[in-house]
Symmetry: C2
Subunit: 535 residues, 2 copies
């Protein structure tokens, strides 16, 4: 039966791969598939990293190499984990009492005092949390490789939810109307498809297509926009219903479409592409229990190498080695550690204020780079009204108000209480919110959010807000390179400066992601090990 289906080259390939699999097992099959182009670039990249071999140092008489790592964030811990596995003697200096850096989960008892601010203590119920820093992971990021290796359980992060809303003010007819995403998308897809189908049919466009291909294009547009037989968009069940379909004679009453004018002026369409970028597409994931579960798993692997409460004061390198002076924040004493090399993962926003004898070129590069503004507020509610009243399970609502977005919790569905992100704001919005007092931020998040969810008034219990520009040892959400920075300063930042290597999300093209921190650390680990082996 199957012989009628499979063309000859297919059988040959199948036989070949079966043979490879039988003889060499999974690893050989994987390798051959890679060679044949049957694996994705993501997979090939993941397979490309080879950690330093455990035997290299001892076999070559190079044991005892000391590496000072600055910062116990994801980059620093990746470096310590990978180098430690090869026998390097790593010491991580970390100013905070905890590891993880921006991979920071706020839960009951978490405290923070922003620069110039008052001390906040999270008074959330046990089990409720929000991720102040990274909160989602694309399925192809290296971060998941470590989660797998370390046994960290993951669950989906609901980055797309058609039941979330768009809500804009001052946009004409649809101002102040909360519109389910499904409805805005159905209308936009409908009108766009209708317009293009007409342009194609009226030969208004000079297309390099045969008439058969044009017919295929129009057929696609009909299905894409849910157009009627005459290629008009007259609304779609995709938008949802005024009266839901149900049992017996409840056939459902479809929503009428908004007018083309109203939907264009609404500005909703500009929100769509936030779901399209490579690193925001579904599926996305997050660790069960908080993003810091990954950091904690890393920490467990390298805990004996982390010196907490160690605030770096000065970095001094010579041709022989590196000395780092730090203040022991417990005792106030100034201490020092020495090593053969240093891996510095301190954000540039912080590093530029630390005394160091970098080369002039490196010092300039460090000083020139800006960091992004970003802020979040967690709001605890005593009832998950978004689930119970509005059937929204995770995902977000987007708005042109200053709060920018509301994120519904992608976990613990059906629980009694819940914690949502009352805002996740960037840039000017984040700056505006960040300048407020903690109480003002809460009031602002509630006032604007309540325009979308009036249940806020009744159900709110507690908040905790973070402005990353004001968080000591971070001073910003993530690196914000301009195209010019990438040309002028970035190559310098990527090169070792004598015995000092920079690592972190800022030394990558996956900025603002934990994967950037990991990938940069792996690069440094490989380079450093190669250098040591050549010494």
């Amino acid at each position: 039966m199957e012989n009628t289906l499979i063309r000859e080259e297919q059988i040959t390939r199948r036989q070949f791969l079966t043979t490879v699999g039988k003889i060499g097992g999974s690893a050989a099959l994987f390798s051959v598939m890679g060679t044949l182009g049957l694996l994705s670039p993501e997979t090939m990249k993941a397979a490309a990293y080879t950690p330093p071999s455990g035997g290299d140092l001892t076999l070559s008489g190079r044991s005892g190499k000391k590496i000072i790592i600055l910062g116990a964030g994801i980059a620093g811990m990746t470096a310590a984990y990978e180098l430690g596995g090869a026998g390097y003697d790593c010491t991580i200096l970390e100013a905070r009492a905890r590891a993880g850096g921006r991979a920071w989960t706020v839960r009951r008892g978490t405290t923070v005092t922003e620069i110039g601010g008052v001390k906040q203590v999270a008074r959330f119920d046990n089990g409720l949390y929000f991720n102040a820093g990274p909160m989602r992971i694309p399925q192809f990021h290296v971060t998941l490789e470590y989660a797998r290796k370390f046994g960290v359980a993951i669950e989906p992060f609901n980055n797309v939810n058609e039941s979330g809303y768009y809500y804009n003010e001052n946009v004409g007819e649809l101002s102040g109307v909360k519109v389910p995403k499904r409805q805005a998308k159905a209308d936009v897809k409908g009108y766009v498809s209708e317009m293009l189908a007409k342009a194609v049919n009226q030969k208004a466009l000079d297309l390099p297509l045969t008439s058969e291909e044009k017919a295929k294009l129009v057929a696609f547009l009909k299905s894409e926009g849910d157009l009627n037989a005459d290629l008009f968009y007259k609304g779609s069940e995709r938008a949802g219903y005024i009266e839901e379909p149900g049992g017996k004679l409840d056939a459902g009453v479809r929503k009428d479409p908004f007018s083309l004018k109203a939907i264009i002026n609404s500005g909703f369409g500009q929100f769509f592409s936030s779901e399209y970028s490579y690193d925001q597409q579904m599926m996305m994931f997050h660790p069960v229990g908080g993003m810091d579960m990954i950091a904690k798993a890393f920490e467990k692997k390298v805990s004996d190498r982390i010196q907490f409460h160690a605030e770096v004061q000065e970095i001094i390198q010579s041709t022989d080695g590196v000395r780092v002076k730090y203040k022991d924040l417990n005792s106030g004493a100034l201490k020092e550690v020495t090593g053969d090399y240093c891996i510095c993962t301190i954000p540039l926003s912080v590093l530029k204020e630390i005394k160091a004898n970098f080369s002039a070129e490196m010092a300039t590069a460090i000083s020139k780079i800006s960091y992004a503004s970003a802020g979040k507020i967690g709001l605890q509610f005593k009832r998950r009204f978004w689930e119970e009243d509005e059937h929204i399970f995770g995902g977000n609502t987007l708005t042109n108000m200053d709060i920018s977005s509301i994120y519904y919790p992608p976990t613990d569905y059906f629980a009694k209480k819940g914690l949502l992100l009352g805002y996740y704001a960037f840039g000017a919005n984040a700056d505006k919110l960040g300048k407020m007092t903690v109480a003002q931020r809460e009031d602002y998040a509630l006032s604007q959010g309540a325009k979308i969810h009036p249940q806020y008034f009744k159900e709110f219990e507690a908040s905790f807000s973070v402005d990353w520009k004001k968080i000591k040892y971070n001073l910003g959400g993530w690196v914000a390179y301009t195209a010019d920075d990438r040309k002028t300063y970035y190559p310098t930042l990527c090169k070792p400066d004598g015995r000092i290597y920079l690592a972190g999300e800022h030394i990558s093209y996956i900025t603002a992601w934990q994967a950037g921190a990991i990938e940069s650390a792996r690069k440094v680990v490989t380079e450093l090990h190669e250098r040591v082996m050549k010494e």
Copy 2:
């Protein structure tokens, strides 16, 4: 601060709702929000059902009303649960040894013998399963209300995954090429946006828009298609990379777009809308551990009312009551049960062969309705190569081969082994696969699937397949009404025939969904209770 933000009517509404919330609590707030149109139609529908009151029967001296329910699927158990709560004496006759009907999860030890087929025993490892029937739930379906009420844990069902593939044969240049969904979508969005932007700019379309609105439309198309400044689509990071971006100088190399011709002829675009329909949009959910967790939770509530191994032989109603003759499949004995009313949830495909003294109109209606063909195969693999090698966590791959689709498991990420759906086919494809022997189906699923995942050859362990047309007591996947059926026969099916009420997904406008079964059962429960109270 907030006063500067909120317009006057907003403050008024806020004050009003706050007051309502304070005085009347959540229920009052909910009710007022509904009246003000602040709740969605989904929510209003969910709130509209009122179960029969527990006191109605006893207070009115109508205790002891006996209801015979045919079929312990979701509809039958919903009816028994809702009527039981009001004091009705329900008896469910179920031919099988288990409840749930099509809500059937196949796991280690599950057996089936299709009509004319051999007995299959699922030899999957413990913990691995697939849902032979319903496998996903839209977040607004009433099904989730019961899951919540019964304490059934849910997790997301990954109905959209851009890392899945499209794979078509005989479609020109892209024949036999597995293309990540993200890539096909980026290219189609890009070209479509480019074409329409040009048509708008060249005034090729007679649009009822001001020039400012046209500019907004073009700005939208630029963001929607990731067009360059000249409104050309030249590829996009959304499609993914040839070389992934990473640490240090790995900036990533973008994929080139396919040509407009190639992408149109590929037919990939026709797959897109499968993600758009109201009941297939993200987010979707499924119970942790298998879809039958919901059926099992229902069963727990009504277990003392279910008579298993009871195969209905004849339904006889008189003006006074209903008698149902059934065969006790354990003893072979013919037995009988009597009641005041009967709720029959037996699929029409099966019911039409059962002796019954329905009215001629009802008998005709029952006999005229067709059922859909649908088939699935579960394939157990000893390694989750889709996750490990290809970074695909859930979601599906769609193809124009007979297998139609491959669904990756939306659960137990990072586990060692995994079970995917090797096909989920409908219509002619399902018929073709259904006609094969079990061994042939397995071979076919492996042969076609291996064109997309050559790892099949090495990693396959066990299969189990289901052809719903050949499953006794179902004889079809779900009801398949034509528009004409809905006009001619459906109203009859919805009306009580004497003392007999039909219920099930087929008595709804949410066919093929458990929600249809539940909604229809609720309607019947309400109607029946009203009738009893009027007696």
